[in-house]
């Protein structure tokens, strides 16, 4: 199928391997070497963008498991991230719990809240579920804004930088290593989840839930599991975001962010492991590009309206989402597969 020409599998181990050829291993090694030496030649500005991209990849990998594999639309993902972020913020700064434990707690907390709001998914789907998750987003943000004694309310809350066994991740390069390690682990986890029993059950539910049930898949269990895993990863991403930005308020987790995350998953490619990576990188770089170019344009053309700088971003993202849905609904991941196939068959691509 998607094996390079001339590669065959002679035993079960090689059939189930993620990396099939020596070139795969070499490319992976080069990529990891590149990523983990990046702080040597990247400035702090680019490292902070890379950190944000890493956090986003974790979050939308979770969203991809929920939407892309299990077919359950969630428009409250930023809300679930907020749950994770505030959990770790409160645990580390007010109760003094170590970072690793609070990271896991953040994930578990977000996962449990996700299960609660995912409960309607057992009975309804499609638009109904979308509305429920929008409601989740609003309820979570309202609780954060009004539970002032714990979350700091509208003012926000300060978060200490992450630290493991006395080593504090207090600069961009250090955080870069932390975030990239967790991102790599999450991608590996997602890849294996999708190939295993759970992932296949998710895909069966997405394609036809009645047929899946007839095949013996416990719908309630797997749908709630999808919500748990998706929101768990959102919680982890939120926790990393909290320790990375060191300051939280509800403005970081708006409905617009939730929509943007869905946009990233779609642009990257639903139901693929590599899709979220493409989507996150593309949209975040686009954001940076717009942030860089819009003041330049504004000073070059004074005739532009005053809302140009703030308004151009949402316009571009909305347009990108719409265009991808109409022109390439399978996302960049599909183009990437086509490219790989062409590369393998070259120069005899008939």
């Amino acid at each position: 199928m998607d094996l390079p020409c001339g590669t065959r599998n002679f035993d079960y181990t090689s059939d189930t391997a993620v990396l099939r050829t020596k070139t795969h291993w070499l490319l992976l090694f080069l990529l990891l070497a590149f990523v983990f030496t990046a702080p040597l030649y990247w400035s702090n500005y680019w490292l902070s963008i890379a950190n944000l991209i890493g956090i986003t990849i974790i979050a939308i990998t979770g969203l991809n498991i929920l939407i892309g594999y299990c077919g359950q639309l969630s428009i409250g993902h930023a809300g679930f991230m907020a749950v994770g972020a505030y959990t770790t913020a409160v645990l580390t700064s007010k109760l003094g719990i170590p970072f690793v434990a609070s990271l896991l707690c953040a994930g578990l907390m977000a996962g449990c809240i996700g299960i609660i709001f995912g409960l309607p998914s057992v009975r309804v789907k499609g638009f109904y579920l979308a509305i429920t998750t929008i409601a989740a987003q609003f309820i979570i943000i309202w609780v954060i804004n009004h539970w002032t004694s714990v979350t700091g309310g509208f003012v926000g809350i300060k978060v200490a930088p992450a630290s493991i066994a006395g080593f504090t991740f207090n600069s961009e390069p250090r955080q870069f290593y932390l975030i990239m390690t967790i991102t790599a682990l999450v991608i590996f986890f997602a890849k294996n989840l999708a190939r295993g029993r759970v992932g296949r059950a998710f895909i069966a539910i997405r394609d036809n839930d009645l047929a899946a049930e007839v095949m013996g898949i416990n719908l309630t269990y797997y749908k709630l599991l999808a919500f748990f895993i998706g929101c768990f990863l959102a919680g982890i991403a939120g926790a990393l975001f909290a320790h990375w930005s060191r300051f939280l308020n509800a403005e970081h987790f708006t409905l617009a962010d939730s929509i943007l995350y869905i946009g990233m998953v779609i642009i990257g490619g639903l139901g693929t492991t590599i899709g979220p990576i493409f989507g996150a990188i593309l949209i975040r770089l686009l954001q940076q590009g717009i942030m860089y170019i819009s003041p330049v344009l504004e000073s070059a053309f004074p005739a532009l309206p005053a809302g140009f700088t703030t308004g151009i971003g949402p316009m571009v993202f909305g347009l990108v989402i719409i265009l991808f849905l109409i022109l390439e609904p399978r996302g960049i991941a599909h183009r990437w597969t086509l490219f790989k196939a062409a590369y393998r068959l070259w120069p005899f691509s008939y």
Binding site: I67, G126, Y128, I131, W142, L210, G311, P314, G318
Partner: protein
Amino acid sequence: MAELLQYTITGIAVGMVYALIALGFALIWKSSSIANLALGQLVLISSWFTYGMLVQAKFPYWLGFPLTVLFAIFLGWLIERLTLRPLIAQPILSLITVTLGIAYFLEGVVTFVWPMSVAALPRLFPQEPVRLGPAVVSQEYIWAALVSLLLFGLLSLFFKYHKMGIAMRATADDQLAVQACGVPVTSVFSTSWMFACVVAAIGGVLISCIGGITYGLVETGLKSFSVVILGGLDSFVGCIVAGPIIGLCENLGGGYLTPLIGPGIKDIIPFIIIIIVMVFKPYGLFGEKRIERI
């Protein structure tokens, strides 16, 4: 007592406007089963457009309002023609997310053209408050309820007697049969979008007469989802019954729970209702029980 009466009247009045906006949703859902999540942004952009016409361009009312309606019709046509027609027969996920994309885009347009975050429409209705028994209600609420009721009446007459209205009901019933009868289904779709945008625009103007034009209008649009959910997705009667219920819950709850729980509870009551309805009666009060039970 006076408090209770006041909350009730304002609640019903605001609920009528929610019902009007929700009607726009139900229209599109019925004819083309597309869930329009850009409702809030449609409300927002048409309110700002009215502001642009009446205040910025200083048009008189008799010119400004028809222009707003024309703008809404054009917007509905544009959205249907450019984004939804290429996606006919795509999975429901794409249809929902494309309206999210539209929502994002419209929000960008609003910040682009009207960067100020708050504005007020000129006074459309008389100012002096009305005394209804012990309660004092400002006239805007009463006018909003009356206009919504009037539009509701007009729309139901349209659906009952006009050729296009009948075609729209038929499309909702059975798309294939309608196509076989020679009704142009695509034009039914765009008409339903135009209607939805127009009622969203009128609802937006009514709400912003009461509370001014703010970003909160998006939430108003989202709140009307709770109306559709409670009333049943494809039911016009459901909208007009559920709208005042939601408005009542919101105002009574906001009035009496705020001292107990805290400010802002008013804004999330509709969302809590959504969750409750979803768990216990997902097809709503009047909805067709066609929803696939799993």
